[in-house]
Amino acid sequence: MSALQAEFDAVTAIVRRDWLVLTSYRLRFVSQLISLCFSVTLFHFIAKLVRVTSFNTPGAYFAFALIGLVTLQVLNSTLHSPPSILRGELGAGTFERFVVSPFGALRAMVAMTIFPLLYALMMALAMLVFAAIAFGLHVHWSTLALLAPVAFLGALSFLPFGLLIMALVLVFKQALTGVTFVVAGISLISGLYFPVSVLPGWMRELSRVQPFTPAADLMRHVMAGTHLHESLSLELAKLVGFPLVLLPLSVIALQLALRAGRRRGTLLES
């Protein structure tokens, strides 16, 4: 029991460290909040221009795009933030602490994904509250409580991709450059800013075989009451299935990257 407790404490120590580092930059939180509020405001006014059959009212598009922004927050928190933190650790030499610790680098890297996710969820909530207060965003309160489990499942389905990118960072060091393109590509094919129905056929096919589209779709469903593109069970199956298959594979990839780095002696190179 005390061994399990020590493991848990190591995880919380990493989450606490990331929180302390964030709050040591006093203006970072405020500036990020302001930047998100500007994005929300921008989409509110863009929505006023939208007069298409896909959306009955500008408000409907605003809600659609806003939930796309929320999904993007979660996406960035799993795909971009942890690999960036890892890159910083390699540069600062703090990663070697994880490697020589009994807690271990593998667990530490998984623990490193927690704080960015919690932070993204907090920011997403702030965006929603701002949109509701400032622009009267219509929220389906009856199903809103389901947002937490859906967001959790969504984050869990994105996590393997984040871990795979971390493995690439360990091996190639410069893998972060490609993440920006990956996130841009995902936001395109998963319909974060517009419905996937407007995409060409081959892109629509791509949108069916990844977890980002059902995550955004389900979040829209529980928050704004939009119709699902596929059956509820199929969308849920995708959100559960992707992490079930990919999470063990991504952990193995991370383990192999660590082992290769220790063997080749490149693990601590920045």
């Binding site: 407790q5 404490d9 120590a13 460290r17 302390l20 490697v99 009994p102 807690f103």
Partner: protein
């Protein structure tokens, strides 16, 4: 620990030149490095390096720049896998028993890296105590003990990026000793330390050896350094020899 039963006085098989150490049962040895090979590109830095440290030993490892001192310490610390050979601490293998192995290691890398700059000295120690899987009930006491040992009280609540190099080095040393490891590996530990700091380091090493652990520290030369060493070794041609 120094009166370990079952003492067998044989020479370490892989050692070059004179006897490297007395060898007792490997389960009791704070460090056994056996036939370590490591190649960086085409250059073979370690060529069957072997070294055994007995309980209660403080040892110095010397050698010119590029001889492979850091490589050997990093291998012993579990940061590098040996390409051939193996490393054990208290009989635990660095690859096979990785987690248990790391529990017994305290490591100080060369230079001034490895601290989370935006955290205070105290927060860095707390973080390390959690990563070292120190049981919750012992953590506060060990952090306090390390703070006292390395005279960090005055700077404990300061961010480490605002500390002097010598103070930072004391924080790094405190982390290496905090969890009371059986083996402490120190790569150029004297860096940036004044006489007071060197005295604190000397005391900390004495505590580890006093409880039956071992300390291996390295630097190009020992001259003028008051850091204790019961045994002295040097790396030459990729092998460890008694200096």
């Amino acid at each position: 620990m120094s009166s370990t039963p079952g003492l067998v006085t044989v020479q370490t098989a892989q050692a070059q030149g004179p006897s490297v150490s007395l060898c007792r049962s490997p389960e009791r040895m704070p460090l056994v490095l056996k036939g370590i090979h490591r190649r960086w590109g085409r250059r073979e830095v370690l060529h069957g390096a072997s070294l055994t440290l007995s309980p209660g030993t403080a040892a110095w490892l010397g050698g010119p720049n590029g001889a492979g001192k850091t490589t050997l310490l990093r291998t012993a610390a579990g940061l590098l896998s040996p390409q051939r050979g193996h490393s054990t601490v208290l009989g635990l293998d660095s690859e096979r028993d990785r987690r248990a192995y790391q529990r017994h290691i305290g490591f100080l890398s060369a230079g001034d890296r490895g601290l989370t700059a935006r955290l205070t000295a105290h927060q860095n120690l707390e973080l390390w105590s959690a990563l070292a899987l120190v049981p919750r009930e012992r953590r506060r006491g060990l952090v306090e003990q390390a703070t006292v040992h390395f005279a960090l009280h005055e700077v404990a609540e300061q961010r480490v990026d605002r500390l002097s190099m010598g103070q930072r080095q004391r924080v790094r040393l405190a982390m290496a000793f905090l969890h009371e490891p059986a083996l402490v590996l120190l790569d150029e530990p004297h860096t940036s330390l004044d006489d007071f700091g060197l005295g604190l380091l000397e005391d900390a090493i004495a505590q580890v050896t006093g409880r039956g652990g071992a300390v291996l520290w390295c630097s190009p030369s020992r001259a003028g350094l008051p850091i204790p060493a019961d045994e002295s070794y040097e790396l030459a041609d990729g092998r460890v020899r008694r200096a």
